[in-house]
């Protein structure tokens, strides 16, 4: 079809999956097995999309004989609260059966002689030893791509979704977007959508994360979905100054030491455990830099040859980059700095109400980093091995519930209006049609100026946050006047637009939380609050005259549904 001179391709499915990382592909597979016709729309290539290919082989793997209670307590302590123990327990158990099933179906895992997944133990937070699986993430993603394709999932790659469509009653009916390489618009009819498009990196400095820009979070917010725990969307993971790397936590667990310019171990200086939870390490690094004792060097000389080889196998891409710099980080200390990872290491995202990923928008489900993760990972990044676990399990559950929703809904017949589509397409091509306007690059820089600065983020004050918020509002308004040079740039324009809205939700939520914990550090409220702060924030976009505004409320963990959708284990039994 042609719309105002643009080529348009039209698609119909029962469940539309947005994003094709670990969460998206798992959800796609589960929904297809549940009988739904599934379409996956992703910006990259399914199997090499999102941050999953860089989640270097660390996924939690607790067996029934392990001390689950002990793990939960330690986890709660390291992440400084806000965890929902019941939810976390269910995620941990489902995660084990999920990886067991994948293991049986030939996933690229390290194995014991009897074929069962091989476990390794990683020291974290000073004392606990956490069992994890060793996975080659890139191969794992290719495995999940094959699994999804074999169950009949269709793929729409290099495709950016820009807007979700609702019927008159507010129920979801589909989405619009475009294929950037073909210069073509897309219209997708779908009664159920799973948002699995990842978190928001604001293109900070860390390996492989520049393509996650909060797209799904912003699109959902514009539709009226609530965003939860957004104040925790500022995370920093140590990265090598020579090139964007990842895998720091494993190196630290093997005995790597962070030293300041005086040669002091900065964790000891700040009274932190070794290795420290990521958020504590980041704060220590920032303080050292601010107080003039930078640069921070990462000293890996204590790591044995065997451990080194093992690490290189686990993180082949970083190891390759490393070799190419011509420097040997294991032989000489090299500067590292706190690279910004936004909401990827943090825990804010679209609020779900039940474990099937159900949101407050009928028909919209959420999984992975796009979903709020606080109930599972709390306020910090104490033990990060849960992020992949959450991606897989939330994908599995959301895929199942979305497929069931679609089945129920189809009987009633989806209704959508010409006007809704028109409006969505107009919004999509807006930046292409503008003769003048801001460039995506310059607005991204301005956005980063407000969002990325670790000095600001670790030293939050009411005044500082409010000033940042009004600046972000200005930028967000300017993102409605972006001009795209071509279809490639059109994707960048929409990304900047989305990232600006996510930043606004983050700052608005940070103003409300008057305490410090995890990634959220307030100079004016430096201590962790009492039980009255064991609550989560929820930010909702509302119309404010001609403009919009986030209204932030607090909500109690008790309102969260903790029953996962039925039948997940049956799917995994085959």
């Amino acid at each position: 079809m042609i719309w105002r001179g643009y080529r348009v391709s039209e698609w119909t499915c029962d469940v539309l999956m947005i994003g094709a990382g670990l969460a998206g592909l798992t959800a796609a597979w589960a929904a297809a097995r549940e009988g739904a016709r599934v379409l996956v729309a992703c910006k990259g290539f399914a199997g090499a999309d999102g941050v999953s290919p860089f989640a270097g082989g660390v996924v939690l793997y607790l067996l029934p004989e392990d001390d689950e209670d002990g793990f939960l307590q330690e986890h709660e302590r390291l992440n400084e609260g806000l965890i929902h123990p019941e939810v976390l327990r269910r995620v941990i158990r489902q995660n084990t059966s999920l990886w067991q099933a994948w293991g049986r179906w030939g996933a690229p895992l390290e194995r014991e002689i009897d074929g069962s997944p091989r476990r390794r133990w990683l020291r974290i937070g000073g004392r606990s030893h956490v069992p994890r699986l060793a996975v080659d993430s890139m191969k794992m993603m290719q495995f999940l791509r094959r699994l999804a394709l074999r169950s009949g999932v269709r793929l729409l790659e290099q495709t950016c979704i820009t807007r979700l469509l609702q019927d008159a009653g507010g129920t979801l009916v589909g989405a619009v977007g475009f294929q950037r390489q073909e210069g073509k618009l897309v219209i997708i009819r779908a009664p159920a959508v799973v948002m699995a498009s990842g978190g928001c990196s604001w293109r900070g400095a860390h390996m492989g994360q520049h393509n996650v820009m909060g797209d799904g979070v912003a699109i959902a917010a514009r539709l009226g979905a609530e965003l939860a725990s957004m104040e925790f969307c500022v995370s920093y993971v140590a990265t090598c100054s020579l090139f964007d790397s990842h895998g720091q936590c494993v190196l630290a667990a093997l005995g790597g030491k962070f030293r300041n310019s005086l040669g002091e171990n900065i964790l000891i200086r700040h009274g932190l455990p070794e290795p420290a939870p990521t958020h504590q390490l980041a704060l220590a690094m920032v303080l050292e830099l601010l107080e003039g004792r930078g640069p921070i060097q990462f000293d890996l000389r204590g790591i044995s040859e065997n451990e080194r080889r093992d690490w290189e196998e686990r993180f082949p891409l970083v190891a390759r980059g490393l070799r190419r710099t011509g420097r040997d980080i294991f032989a000489e200390p090299v500067p590292w700095f706190p690279g910004f990872t936004g909401s990827i290491g943090g825990s804010g995202g679209i609020r779900w109400q039940r474990l099937g990923g159900e949101t407050n928008v009928p028909g919209l489900f959420v999984a992975g980093d796009a979903a709020m993760r606080t109930p599972v990972t709390g306020a910090g990044s104490g033990i990060t091995f849960l992020n992949l676990a959450w991606a897989g399990v939330s994908g599995l559950w959301a895929g199942l519930s979305a497929a069931r929703w679609a089945r129920g809904y189809l009987a009633a017949g989806p209704e959508w209006t010409r006007e809704a589509i028109e409006e969505g397409l107009k919004e999509t091509v807006g930046p292409l049609e503008r003769r003048t306007g801001f460039s995506s690059r310059s607005l991204l820089r301005q956005l980063q100026q407000v969002v990325v600065d670790p000095c600001v983020n670790f030293l939050r004050t009411r005044e500082g946050l409010q000033a940042a918020l009004s600046r972000i509002r200005e930028i967000r308004r300017e993102t409605e006047m972006l001009r795209a040079r071509d279809w490639h740039d059109l994707a960048c324009c929409h990304e900047v637009r989305h990232a600006a809205l996510v930043a606004e939700a983050m700052l608005a939520s940070a103003v409300v939380r008057e305490e410090s914990r995890g990634w959220h550090r307030r100079l004016d409220f430096p201590n962790r609050g009492g039980p009255e702060w064991e609550v989560w924030t929820a930010a909702r976009l509302r119309q404010d005259g001609a403009d919009m505004d986030f209204e932030v409320q607090l909500w109690l963990p008790s309102s969260l549904g903790t029953e996962p959708p039925e039948g997940a284990d049956d799917l995994l039994r085959e």
Binding site: Q209, F243, S261, A491
Partner: protein, 89 residues
């Protein structure tokens, strides 16, 4: 420019165009070549993730890990830039 294409060896399969998460490549016609070859037309968007290099069947892509200079968003960017090449201060 962070990603280099060895055009001589490129077999024109187009896989790099499909897999790059940041849409860096396009296939472009070249004189004397039957098929269009890969070209990094948006090199400034490359994030050095190595995915294209992983997938290329002809082994003709080379990703340089070099970090593009950190801009002023990073409060310590000057310090970090200084340390990139000499190691210790």
């Amino acid at each position: 420019m962070i990603c280099f294409v060895n055009e001589e060896r490129c077999v024109g399969c187009g896989l790099c165009v499909r897999v790059c998460p940041l849409d860096v490549f396009r296939m472009v016609p070249r004189d004397g070549r039957r098929k269009p070859v890969a070209c990094a037309v948006y090199p400034e968007d490359c994030m050095s993730c190595f995915i294209c290099e992983e997938y290329c069947p002809a082994n003709c892509l080379y990703v340089s890990p070099e970090r593009s200079p950190l801009h002023a968003v990073w409060p310590f960017h000057e310090e970090i830039e200084k340390t990139k090449n000499g190691g210790n201060k």
